[in-house]
Amino acid sequence: MNSYALIPFLPLAAFVINILFGRKYLKENAHWVSILAVAGSWVLAVMALMDVLNGNKINFDLYTWMLSGGFKVSVGFLIDQLTVVMLIVVTTCSTLIHIYSVGYMHGDTGYYRFFSYLSLFTFSMLMLVMANNFLQLYFGWEGVGLCSYFLIGYYFDKKSASDAGKKAFIVNRFGDFGFGLGIFVVFLTFGTVYYEPVFSQASSLAEATYNFLGYDVHLMTLIALLLFCGSIGKSAQIPLHVWLPDAMEGPTPVSALIHAATMVTAGVFLVARCSPIFSLSETALMVVALTGAITSLFAATIGLVQNDLKRIIAYSTVSQLGYMFLACGVGAYTAGIFHLYTHAFFKALLFLCAGSVMHAMGGELDIQKMGNLKKYMPITYATMLIASFSISGIPGLAGFFSKDEILWMAYAGESPVGKFVWAIGTLVAFLTAFYSFRLIFLTFHGKFRGTHEQEHHLHESPKSMTIPLVLLCVGAVAAGWVGIPALIGENIGVHNYIAEFMKPVLGHPEGHGTHGEEMVVMLISIAVGLAGIGLAYFMYIIRPELPDRLAQQFQAVYRILFNKYYVDELYSFIIVRPAIWTAKNVLIGITDGHIIEAVVNGVPSAIAALSSGLRKIQTGLMQHYATIMATGILIIVAIMLLR
């Protein structure tokens, strides 16, 4: 047995121990089990990285769960370049956020429960990224969804929290339905669910079509789009993005880990993992690129006017996820994964800083009621500032390299929509810089606008919280140095290591452009970043009354943005309300209320009615039983003889 199998199973063991003994025995010490386990996973992940760097690719089946005919399901692990990057991201963020949670969740009644869920989540996420077959991927996929559901609704006595959990669950159902169907089509087409045979056979089926109701559907496009449905749900892309901002009801470490750094990026990982299939379908790639681009623009514009600290960062996450899809859609999977990797650091950092702010503000989230926090929370301020520089693409920081790579690939790649998405991407870069610094300026600068009690309470967070901040901050600065583009790199003698590293799995398209063009693209992206910051400085520091005036001037636009384009209301109108109406008026109308209540809500009423009807046949009288038996015999004998 390969010791790398322990990577996911250590957190699973921690989960089992915590859930069994947490309530009675571990109580306030529950975090030790989880932290040790995830740190162990991290060590193993680093060892795996070393191994892969030495050119090994590890693929093994741990044990076969079931085997029936040609259908085999096993727990198996594939550790290649892509997996290893994900492993490092997941275990690093997870470890740091586990540590941060010790301070953040201190004194919470469900302390052991929180850590056991975190461990379970880590397990599921690792199963997801390490799978060597689609079914295990699906298992991890559903597992992380379930944990996310538990953790969003962690404060289950708060109605908004449990509603948000439900919303996340239901919205993801839509995506997962397509995803499951996609896996099914994969199995039908290839006769296996293992990555290796599927991907190696994919190219031979590049032109295959599938006749569906008289239409010839391009098979690879069908599979790719079905799988992408899952990505849309999990990574909160339009039109299934509505759950992620609401998911901020969960504890902040959860937002950082699940809803920023790891789980929501699973969709990007899926596209990258299935790149051999996506690459065979131009249509699918175009859909991916456009979905990503539109989502990123859409979410960034909403982010401009929100006032809830965590929601702004959530929209920023949606927007950045769109960026990653944009990259994958133009064929630059490496760039997408690179951005995923850098994003994990600075976005987790942003959330943890937000958590630190919340901690100081006594749970307050409205940035209009903050201000001048840099005086009280220097470490939080410094780290959050760096993270914001990073996301805005200030040269030298992690976000700069990955974002630049994406924009250049979009501009110079072969994708027919490349130039278009590049333009959107550049616009989004500007908006990102603006709303990130709007957040910084409103929160940390100016005058404090909260209450007096809050002002008294203001303090820097405990060590267990600030140390992870600092460590993540190192990542937010330096994580990008593994992917320095050739343009800069050749002058200082470094390569684009990550692109070379990932090339065997994801390929690395060459940009069709000169160094001069590349330089221009880079300069534009730096310029828009700086412009965004400058505009934010102008509007919120120099002329703080300006935003309100603008909001009044362009009231219609402001309202639309503030209300997130009314998507929630739209869904409520076209899906939720009709569903509830049908349930209320049709289902309850047909059957009497208590059957519906007794049987889980929403049983097809016909079956329930049939059930109570059929019950009458079971009269309790033996003669009737015997009569029915005799009738059965008569019918069978008669049919068999007269046949």
């Binding site: 076969t64 085997l67 049987v599 079956i607 039983y625 038996m629 068999m640």
Partner: protein, 475 residues
């Protein structure tokens, strides 16, 4: 005429069982603590399981055959016996029916099942079946002061006798046609004399199908089951829902594949509508039940329907998946019944489904166990029930019954409603009052065994399935 001593090695387990049962009858007179008898039964079950290993062979002029197939079923009977004995004592105390004959009768019933599984001759099959049935009738009516228990025993007995008469009529016809009652000889005679098309043979086969359908509680011959299950003492309900059903499948498989092997197309045509009707009746009627024992009775009917799929497939894979499913079913079903028994206290039946409301708040461990069993019965991975269903359905698909499997999956989706309704009640509702749990070491042990079996087989299904495949290959 010299009488040769028959070879007793193959019947050794049955001999031990007979001795154990008779010893139990006599020991009952001197032993005051009846639990001791339960302990003795478990010891004998262990001894028999050990003896099963070296018992392969045919004896008594080919009337009795001990092969992998029968041994696998006997293993299920032993598990059934041990688990039933473990969950019994406390119920017997609560109901104040702690009579020693109880254990002897359970042993006799199990002996009957063992004889059925090994029967290679219709006479042995019939006598084994009656031995099992008569013991079970008495056990079902064991709470003599309770009207429901009497009623259960009465209905079971009368309808059982009716089904026996039908079985005997089928036997007489096949005897008249082939001049023998030995299953192998019957098969040989049918093929050698081209009887396969004979309408009378068809009638005989149908009568056999009906009688066995009665034993496995398949619709429309299932109607005794809900009443008998509801009225019988709960440990006996658990016992009845596994043992006689498994024995019924054992004889169904052997008779239909050996004796009627040449008319397979015909009997699968008979069994297909029975299977569909069984799944429909079991799953649909379970929806509107309010008594949990009754609900589990309908659930057990539905599971018989699923298992019929494996018999209909008729392939080695199909039969082995039936064996596998029966094994899994024994654990998950008795586990669920163990929880039902725990809820029963002096003066509180705890048999209404509503009594499970809020169980997770008052008794989280019991609720979690019930959750595992309900998930397994529904067939949610990674519980064993899922694997059982998966192999059954896969075998049926490979045998060309895809449409039947689609129907089965649909009905199995309906079943989620009534199983998960219990889970919902336990976890989502507030408890109505303080429910007392009637625990004992025996039940604790039974629950530990069942829950670990359900999870273990769910995670490592290959072991039991491999055993079942070996069992079928010898047949």
């Amino acid at each position: 005429m010299p009488i040769a001593m028959p070879n007793l090695t193959p019947v050794m387990p049955e001999l031990v069982m007979t001795c154990a049962a008779i010893i139990m009858l006599m020991a009952e007179l001197v032993i005051k603590r009846k639990e001791t008898l339960g302990f003795l039964s478990i010891v004998s079950a262990a001894l028999i399981s050990y003896l099963l290993l070296g018992s392969a062979g045919t004896t008594f002029g080919g009337m009795f055959v001990s092969d992998g197939y029968s041994s696998f079923f006997k293993l299920i009977f032993m598990a059934n016996l041990v688990l039933t004995v473990l969950i019994s004592p406390q119920y017997l105390h609560t109901m104040r029916i702690n009579f020693g004959e109880y254990y002897a009768l359970i042993l006799f019933a199990t002996l009957g099942m063992m004889l059925m599984a090994s029967a290679a001759d219709i006479i042995v099959l019939y006598l084994g079946l009656e031995l099992m049935a008569l013991s079970t009738y008495v056990l079902a009516g064991f709470i003599r002061y309770d009207m429901k228990s009497n009623e259960a025993a009465m209905k079971y007995l009368l309808l059982g006798a009716f089904a026996s008469a039908i079985l005997l009529y089928g036997t007489s016809l096949i005897y008249g046609l082939t001049g023998t009652t030995n299953l192998k000889d019957i098969a040989e005679y049918i093929t050698n004399n081209g009887l396969a098309e004979n309408p009378l043979l068809m009638v005989s086969m149908i009568f056999f199908a009906v009688a066995f359908s009665f034993k496995i509680a398949a619709a429309p011959f299932h109607m005794w089951a809900p009443d008998a299950y509801e009225g019988a003492p709960t440990p006996i309900t658990a016992f009845m829902s596994v043992g006689p059903k498994a024995a019924g499948f054992a004889v169904l498989g052997r008779v239909f594949l050996v004796a009627f092997g040449s008319v397979r197309a015909d009997w699968s045509l008979v069994l297909v509508p029975i299977a569909i009707l069984t799944m429909a009746v079991g799953n649909i009627l379970a929806l509107s039940q309010t008594n949990i024992k009754r609900m589990l009775a309908y659930s057990s009917i539905a599971h018989a329907g699923y298992m019929l799929l494996g018999i209909i497939a008729g392939t080695p894979a199909g039969i082995s998946s039936v064996l596998n499913y029966m094994f899994i079913y024994a654990f998950m079903n008795i586990g669920a019944f163990a929880i039902v028994i725990m809820l029963r206290t002096e003066g509180f039946a705890g048999e209404e489904i509503g009594d499970y409301a809020g169980l997770a708040k008052t008794h989280p461990a019991a609720a979690a166990l019930m959750l595992v069993f309900m998930f397994s019965l529904t067939g949610i991975p990674p519980m064993a029930g899922f694997m059982g269903k998966f192999y059954l359905f896969m075998a049926a698909v490979n045998a060309g019954y895809t449409w039947l499997v689609i129907i089965a999956v649909l009905f199995s989706a309906i079943s989620a409603y009534f199983y998960l309704r219990i889970v919902m009640l336990m976890y989502m509702k507030e408890p109505a009052g303080a429910t007392l749990l009637n625990t004992s070491p025996g039940i604790g042990l039974a629950l530990a065994i069942t829950v670990s079996a359900v999870i273990f087989i769910g995670i490592l299904p290959a072991k039991i399935l491999g055993l079942a495949q070996i069992a079928v290959s010898s047949f």
